[in-house]
Subunit: 222 residues, 2 copies
DNA sequence: AGTAAAATTTAAGGAAATTTTAAGAATTGT
DNA sequence: ACAATTCTTAAAATTTCCTTAAATTTTACT
């Protein structure tokens, strides 16, 4: 479950948000001032909902503080829609800006987007194209169909999907998946790749997911 | 430079956006219908600005199509702010939603947020003229087009590009690329150079990149 | 201009790397 | 211990890449 920190001085709104997020299966931390927010914040927090009009430190300072230390997505909520202020906040590192009053469902939708983007997300789901790889229960979905992968196949695909731009050399992949056994036959890797490709192809014949970089290794296809 | 694909049927707005993005140092591709957008879309596109009201395929279908195949952030622009539609789009994979008319600076700010999310900051890129050679994923871009090089071709071009002023003798290049095999036919190198030249010429016929230094070797042309 | 040496291009054969297939070994669960 | 699954290995088939050789073009020099 993902944790969201609400920083909002108005008790009514804070409670309302807290309720809303709980109902949507988020764990909630509530702070009623900027300084309190910074204190409460910890490594478990996956996203921050930040009100602008705060006693004590103002929103800008809070963002600056948080972004400096942590890499957590921040969604700013505010009644005012002063465009210059908005831009300042984006410059400081805000990831989204939503003006009050907002639609609750839209807020949830935007929260989901930013949780999905980040590496900070506790979510154990790695997505790439139409593949969803859940590291907590080792399940894989491709093109809305279930894919059954063995352990090594799963690990291999996971490594490739976590950095889809990067080319992984073969020895690289051996290290990451097999754990530095140079004893293994070079072909073992190739066979595993071949099996993964076949299984994915069964779910979505139109897309090629894994690209071979000749004489180097493999990567996810763009 | 990052590339943004605009999919917007209203010519005035499309032009305006194009101008705006160009002024902010983005490379721009314009499409005037959804189907055109899908056609134009290529590996270089880093973000898509998508208008909802399109002739032919509508926005939902476009998003579905694009997200299925590529892993590119999509910002939806629309005049209507129907909340249900908004939520549908987020569900389909839209990364942001901005209602027209919007403030230009805000659009730029939101674009930056989403480009920042996806980027890997590892800069292993060697540049020379309009060639970009990425040593981490072994990709080469020339004149904004992808160039597919084999391993030896890549290594060879890399050596030349790392010291564009220097003249490399042939035995020098053999050492650096092949690893001191004096057995190899002298001509092997020439053939490789020839192939690289051809591939680069396909991307940019106007420029000659590699200069031959008669009876000595090669270097990058000034 | 003519000539020889060097460089470029082209095509083809062979070398090297990858993919696939299949079967036996190792591992896991019951 | 047995059955089932998974992993590894080996070998054949395939694909891609490299090298070689020959023909052509360019350059340097007389």
């Amino acid at each position: 479950m993902e944790t969201i920190l609400i920083i909002e001085d108005d008790k009514n709104i804070n409670d309302m948000l807290s309720q809303l997020l709980s109902n949507n299966n988020y764990k909630v931390l509530s702070a009623f001032s900027g300084t309190e927010g910074i204190l409460i914040h910890n490594e478990q927090v996956n996203l921050i909902l930040l009100d602008l009009m705060l006693p004590g430190k103002n929103g800008e300072e809070i963002i600056e503080d948080l972004k400096q230390k942590y890499n957590v997505p921040v969604i700013v909520m505010s009644a005012i829609s002063n465009i210059d202020k908005k831009l300042d906040l984006f410059n400081l590192g805000a990831d989204d800006y939503i003006t009050k009053p907002f639609n609750n469902k839209e807020l949830i939708a935007r929260i989901k987007v930013h949780l999905k983007n980040g590496k900070h997300s506790k979510s154990t789901v790695i997505k790439y194209k139409d593949i969803e790889l859940n590291t907590s229960d080792f399940s894989v979905i491709c093109n809305n169909k279930n894919v059954v992968l063995t352990k090594n196949e799963f690990e291999l695909l996971k490594v490739l999907m976590t950095n889809p731009e990067q080319v992984f050399t073969k020895s690289n992949l051996f290290d990451l998946v097999w754990g530095n056994e140079d004893s293994a036959d070079d072909n073992t890797l190739n066979v595993h790749i071949s099996r993964i490709r076949n299984k994915l192809k069964e779910c979505n014949p139109k897309v090629e997911y894994i690209e071979t970089v000749w004489s180097i290794g493999y990567k996810m296809k763009k």
